[in-house]
């Protein structure tokens, strides 16, 4: 696991701004049609085109039912788009893989395995030897703040703890991209803010590409470099907002920062706006 020293006084610049052209994820004119139980066609996503650079923390924000999770699942390879293509590192996505690691709102831990067993699952699947996988996993478990809980079972853990395990489990197999589907949605407010902080601390270390789905505006602004605002169903991209706030971000400072507040107000207004005429060109 690469550990980069954090540099608090440097603004987070996207890779392309630094002169390195690395489009990690390319979504080209993706549309998704679902068949509902009444055999009717429901257009969930309409002509989504988006490029996400390597190392960027991008949030997908929108009201319920706008298809943001669907978009994430398409990038994850769990769902095939009806039209259009999604690529990662230039290659079209044909299915799930260890290069794109998911973290779900429902945690989706393996209940028959302990915390350690869950985290070791990915590395073991990749052929890592037991002793090394165990050592690696223990380090990760400590990093997410669960030292001492290695032999607990999911049913004995609280929601926040389960999500930490889920995060550790996904990080364990070193995906290039983290796909997070409203991961803190099922948690209480206090746990949520703690995990947001912890996530940023962990992310700062090796700056993976993160695609983060949420319906919370302040969460999106707090965490991301870019916020992709989506319209109501059928989901289209309304606007992509660059969040120009320096890292590392501390909640206490940010909440009082007028620029942060301005972003939140601006984006909330965008979502409230019922007219869907402002489409991204």
């Amino acid at each position: 696991m690469k550990v980069l020293p954090s540099r608090p006084d440097v603004q987070a610049k996207s890779a392309s701004a630094r002169g390195l052209a690395t489009a990690m994820i390319e979504i080209e004119r993706v549309s998704q049609v679902f068949q509902t139980s009444g055999r009717q066609n429901h257009l969930a996503l309409s002509e989504i085109s988006l490029t996400i650079e390597d190392g960027a923390f991008v949030s997908i924000l929108g009201p319920s039912g706008c298809g943001k999770s669907t978009l994430l699942y398409i990038v994850g390879g769990f769902v095939s788009p009806t039209e259009g293509v999604a690529k990662v590192r230039g290659k079209a996505i044909t299915g799930p893989g260890p290069d794109r690691g998911p973290v779900f709102q429902e945690f989706a831990l393996f209940p028959w395995k302990s915390v350690l067993g869950n985290v070791m699952y990915g590395p073991r699947q990749q052929g890592v030897k037991y002793a090394e996988a165990e050592a690696q996993s223990r380090r990760l478990i400590e990093m997410v703040g669960l030292r001492g809980f290695e032999h607990f079972y999911p049913k004995e853990l609280s929601g926040g703890m389960k999500q930490r395990v889920a995060l550790a489990r996904t990080l364990a197999y070193h995906p290039a991209v983290l796909l997070m589907d409203e991961p803190f949605g099922a948690l209480d407010a206090h746990t949520r803010t703690r995990l947001q902080n912890d996530l940023l601390n962990i992310w700062e270390r090796d700056r993976k590409t993160v695609l983060f789905v949420t319906h919370s505006v302040d969460e999106a602004v707090f965490l991301s470099d870019k916020v992709v605002v989506m319209t109501r169903s059928p989901g289209r991209i309304k606007q992509v907002v660059d969040i120009d706030l320096s890292r590392p971000r501390r909640r206490a400072e940010l909440l009082l920062d007028p620029r942060y507040q301005k972003y939140v107000v601006e984006i909330e207004r965008m979502i409230d706006d019922t007219s869907d005429d402002e489409l991204q060109p």
Partner: protein
């Protein structure tokens, strides 16, 4: 140091047995008919049954048939149920058959099976197999269906193939439900064992039971009831212990209880 209360609750089933036998004893003495021996008389007959070589062979044959019927049934039913749970095509194909045949008491098929296969081992094992299969298929189906899709997606992202996901994720995740089905299957194995031996005599514990009825050996009849009852209780208790150990990690479910946990 176990408290008095805890001790009583641990011994409660034993006390219940003694209580029931007590009630039996009193009722038999009150009714005082030939055809209703007292509990003590029945209990006294047990060692002679177990000591008799022929009877012992019969009883062991019953147990063997149950084991084979049960074993083959779960080997076939669990994979079938799991596949039904994860594939809509397989489910649509087998589900109607399942729904139609489930309520049919498999023992009612005995006459036809006896016509085709005679009164020997195979016929009885087949009935036991049929009796055990259906609940195991049904519960494996339900268990597999209920496995969270996101869990499977997590596995797929880690690089597990479809077959690996079935064996390493669906199977363990569905195990609590599967074992509930197996427990029902065990109960049915016992019932079909006795019924098959009632209809097609020739060998087995049920055979001894109904033969002694025909021959007027009433002590033996009641003794066999106790023996078969003990088999049922013993097997169920052993299975519950095994089940508890295998699925220690699971949340308690709200399925139809077969007995007090």
């Amino acid at each position: 140091m176990i408290s008095g209360r805890a001790l009583i609750s641990r011994l409660a089933p034993l006390l219940a047995c003694i209580g029931l036998l007590g009630v039996w004893q009193i009722a038999a003495l009150v009714l005082s008919t030939d055809s209703f021996p007292t509990a003590l008389e029945a209990l006294r007959a047990i060692p002679s049954i177990l000591g008799d070589r022929e009877s012992l062979i019969n009883i062991l044959a019953s147990i063997r048939r149950m084991a084979i019927g049960f074993g083959v049934a779960i080997m076939v039913s669990i994979p079938l149920g799991l596949m039904m749970g994860r594939s809509r095509g397989v489910a649509s194909f087998f589900n109607p058959l399942l729904m139609v045949t489930y309520p049919v008491p498999k023992a009612a098929l005995m006459p036809i099976i006896m016509l085709w296969l005679g009164v020997g081992e195979v016929a009885k094992i087949l009935v036991i197999f049929l009796g055990v299969s259906l609940p195991v298929i049904y519960h494996s189906f339900q268990g597999a269906k209920a496995v969270e899709e996101k869990m499977l997606w997590s596995g797929a992202a880690m690089g597990l193939s479809a077959m690996q996901r079935m064996i390493r994720i669906v199977l363990p995740a569905a195990l609590p439900e599967i074992l509930t089905g197996c427990r029902t299957g065990l109960v049915l194995a016992l019932i079909t064992m006795v019924t098959s031996e009632m209809i097609a005599r020739q060998s087995g514990a049920g055979n001894i039971l109904f033969n002694s009825l025909d021959m007027g050996q009433y002590d033996t009849v009641y003794a066999m009831i106790i023996i078969i009852g003990a088999m049922g209780i013993g097997l169920d208790a052993a299975f519950e212990k095994l089940r508890g150990r295998l699925v220690r990690w699971s949340e308690p479910g709200f399925d139809i209880p077969l007995s007090f946990a």
